[in-house]
């Protein structure tokens, strides 16, 4: 496995991503979108596609840049810092991973469209308030050559805007993964007013008739197809979450150096210094876990579950601590909407739940470690 330090290419990639995002998608852009009632930024996605980000995992033969998971994490970490809004994880990471493992010309075409930025995806998975891909009840009944889908997916990230949706459903053969256009008849989308101001929707399936060729892989193989995609998504979301933590932490330490009370900068108080130092330690450990997950996914994707779950659990927990301390150390101003800390806190909460929370991933770690 490659070393747990960033390569020169990765450092260059992060610097150029950072430069681009600071200009094209700073936190003020998210604020602007929220105030205008927008939940996605199609123009930004076009720019990201032009830079090769949409095709980060798409093979070169299909027009992608095929840079691998560690590179996808580098990009996500930078997006986390500025809270850039994009369907990167749903489309460029998860759907791409599923489609890459499909044979057939249709998947090739879709990969090409993803890479060029003309096709976006969402993943319709969760059916309860907690991530649990084993507990799927959306019904897929065989009818003729196709299926009829009935049920509800109440929390689909990027589900309001994405062109297509990968749906996990239960048939008599077990879990099946379907690749559907979002405007398929009978599929109703209701937007959710998300705390992080981004796109998520509830998808209701009422007698949705789909042809047999929308089924990916064999009937019953749905979760198997989705597993590598979920792990890739979790690892990259962990990186985004870490980037978010780092930015919120920098906001906080900058404030500690600047804010004066009792005639001195508050950063000179040991009570705050030690808490800030502790957060930095937590971020260091989390950063290692994230690098390790990316390296595992690139080197040995069949055996990356432990690395990915450690990364997602750590990233989730660290971000919670950083944003909570971030508000507290800012005092009153941290509570104001005019200040950016709240945006970080809200995104951290959404990222904590999406694709498995701390408890979900810690339980996987414990199981793999024999208890």
């Amino acid at each position: 496995m490659a070393k747990l330090i960033q390569t020169e290419e990765e450092i260059l990639l992060s610097e150029s991503a950072n430069g681009f995002l600071n200009k094209a998608a700073p936190v003020s852009r998210l604020r602007q979108m929220r105030d205008a009632g927008e939940h996605s930024d199609p123009e930004l996605w076009q720019d990201m596609a032009a830079a090769g980000w949409a095709g980060v995992l798409v093979p070169e033969a299909e027009g992608g840049s095929d840079m691998g998971h560690a590179a996808a994490q580098v990009l996500a970490r930078e997006m986390g810092r500025t809270l850039a809004v994009s369907p990167f994880i749903s489309t460029a990471v998860m759907a791409t991973t599923v489609l890459r493992n499909q044979s057939g010309p249709q998947s090739r075409t879709r990969l090409q469209e993803i890479a060029e930025g003309s096709l976006t995806y969402s993943i319709a998975l969760d059916e309860s308030a907690k991530f649990n891909p084993n507990s799927i009840n959306l019904k897929a009944e065989k009818r003729g050559n196709g299926y009829v889908l009935n049920g509800l997916k109440p929390f689909v990230v990027d589900g309001g805007m994405a062109d297509r949706v990968l749906v996990l459903a239960r048939s008599e053969d077990g879990l099946c993964l379907f690749d559907l256009a979002r405007d398929t008849a009978g599929l109703a989308t209701t937007a959710i007013q998300m705390i992080d101001s981004r796109d998520a929707a509830s998808l209701a399936f009422e007698n949705v008739e789909v042809s047999g060729d929308t089924l990916l892989g064999d009937p019953g193989a749905g979760l198997e197809l989705l597993k590598p995609a979920l792990e890739a998504g979790q690892a990259v979301l962990a990186a985004e979450t870490a980037g978010l933590s780092e930015a919120a932490f920098t906001l906080t330490t900058d404030y500690l150096k600047e804010r004066k009370q009792f005639g001195v900068t508050i950063g000179s108080f040991q009570a705050l210094q030690h808490r800030a130092a502790h957060l930095w330690c937590e971020m260091e450990l989390t950063h290692s876990a994230i690098l390790n997950a990316g390296r595992q996914l690139d080197a040995n994707p069949q055996n990356a579950t432990l690395a990915v779950s450690v990364a997602k659990a750590r990233a989730t927990e660290t971000a919670q601590k950083v944003v909570q301390e971030g508000v507290q150390m800012h005092g009153g101003i941290g509570m104001t909407d005019a200040f950016d800390m709240g945006f970080y806190m809200k995104r951290a909460r959404v990222a904590a739940e999406w694709l498995g929370d701390y408890g979900y991933h810690a339980a996987i770690v414990a199981k793999l470690r024999g208890f």
Binding site: I5, E284, R369
Partner: protein, 391 residues
């Protein structure tokens, strides 16, 4: 690029086979019991009593091959292994449950300091006997009045031309009563600023005027001593680094010590993996709060392991770990304390018996976040030197 990787892979496969064969032929059966606790350690030194003939055989064979200090140069008793090779050696030893052939402060602390700051004569004189386990060292740093404020040491070496006459007292000197030599911080200039008047001095414990007294700890053990210096004559050739610049050596060594302690530490004696304890213990299975805490500890342990790996990769790439070693020390020791608390909880009343229980290990871990710089000192280092918060 592929050829380079393949080359490296085939080299490491060859090396692994060589190590495996050597271990199979040379590691005595009794030394393969997988233990790593305090009782199984071979500390070496002139007064060492081997716990079994196998322990001596294992030490001698490893020393002859350079495997007591695998990464030291061959000229000083090492095997000259690079980090990848060293890792393979450790993995292969772990695979058969081989004990460490020799642990000592000479290996962990003085050796690295001598390799960096020592003269050629000092390296020749001191490193090979450390590698062979012939000389046991102790560390004379803390004093009753200089704990967290280590640079405040007052043990004083009065200048007598070519030698000093040392007077003063050290405390928490690990195993001073069994050590052959001591490396100590001695104030050699009382007029300079406190960090700039300290020398790093080597002394033979048999010198007239040195005496020790063990301190009994809450764990029942007495690993630490008080060490007294009463008009001890020390030649100025026994200073490591420049006179009055001992703080540089001490800081370097502290960095090393912090990494070592955080590494899970040969001296931490944390015994069995937490997961295994929780899985076996009755309470470990039935208590949801304990399980949840254990899961958290396991997640954090893995992230710490990855961080150690990352820092090693960084160091090898030429970026020193530097002040971040304070983070490793802080997180490693706090985590170790958590782990032993969980082990005690999991074993319940069975852990309350001194015999065959983790009780003494549990109590021993409480010192981890004090020795080598307290957790609070580590956080202050991070705050000042890494976060640049106002001092």
């Amino acid at each position: 690029m592929t050829t380079v990787t393949e080359q490296a892979t085939s080299d490491s496969v060859g090396f692994r086979t060589e190590i495996r064969d050597w271990l199979a032929a040379n590691c005595p059966e009794e030394m393969r019991d997988g233990t790593s606790g305090e009782d199984s350690i071979c500390w070496g030194g002139s007064t060492w009593v081997f716990t079994s003939p196998a322990q001596k055989t294992w030490l001698d064979r490893c020393a002859a091959r350079g495997f007591t200090v695998p990464t030291w140069p061959k000229a000083y008793g090492g095997a000259g292994l690079n980090r990848d090779q060293d890792k393979i050696l450790k993995e292969e030893m772990q695979r058969i449950g081989a004990r460490s052939p020799l642990d000592s402060f000479g290996i962990w602390m003085l050796g690295p300091a001598l390799l960096k700051f020592g003269t050629e004569e000092q390296k020749q004189q001191f490193l090979p006997p450390i590698a062979r386990g012939e000389i046991r060292w102790c560390q004379g740093y803390s004093e009753p009045g200089a704990g967290s404020d280590l640079a405040g040491v007052q043990t004083y070496g009065a200048d007598h031309g070519n030698h000093w006459v040392v007077n003063g007292q050290k405390i928490w000197t690990s195993y001073a009563d069994r050590a052959d030599w001591i490396f100590a911080l001695v104030r050699t200039d009382r007029d300079a600023r406190k960090h700039l008047g300290i020398s790093f001095v080597l002394m033979d414990m048999r010198c007239e005027g040195i005496s020790t007294r063990p301190i009994q700890l809450i764990s029942g053990a007495s690993p630490f001593c008080e060490t007294f210096f009463d008009n001890v004559e020390v030649s100025k050739t026994q200073v490591v680094g420049d006179i009055n610049r001992g703080w540089d050596v001490a800081k370097y060594l502290l960095t090393h010590e912090r990494e070592m302690i955080s590494n899970g530490g040969n001296v931490l004696g944390s015994g069995r993996a937490l997961g295994a304890v929780i899985a076996d213990a009755e309470t470990g299975q039935s208590d949801p709060v304990l399980r949840a805490d254990a899961m958290r500890a396991e997640v954090d342990s893995l992230a710490l392991e990855m961080t150690l790996e990352r820092y090693k990769d960084q160091a090898e790439g030429g970026q020193g770990v530097g002040d971040a070693s304070a983070m490793l020390k802080y997180m490693g020791t706090e985590l170790n304390k958590r782990r032993l608390e969980l082990v005690m909880s999991a074993e319940g009343t069975a852990a309350l018996d001194w015999q065959d229980s983790p009780a003494s290990d549990w109590l021993r871990t409480k010192a981890n976040s004090i020795e080598g710089g307290t957790s609070e000192v580590m956080l202050s280092i991070i705050s000042r030197r890494i976060l640049n918060l106002p001092g």
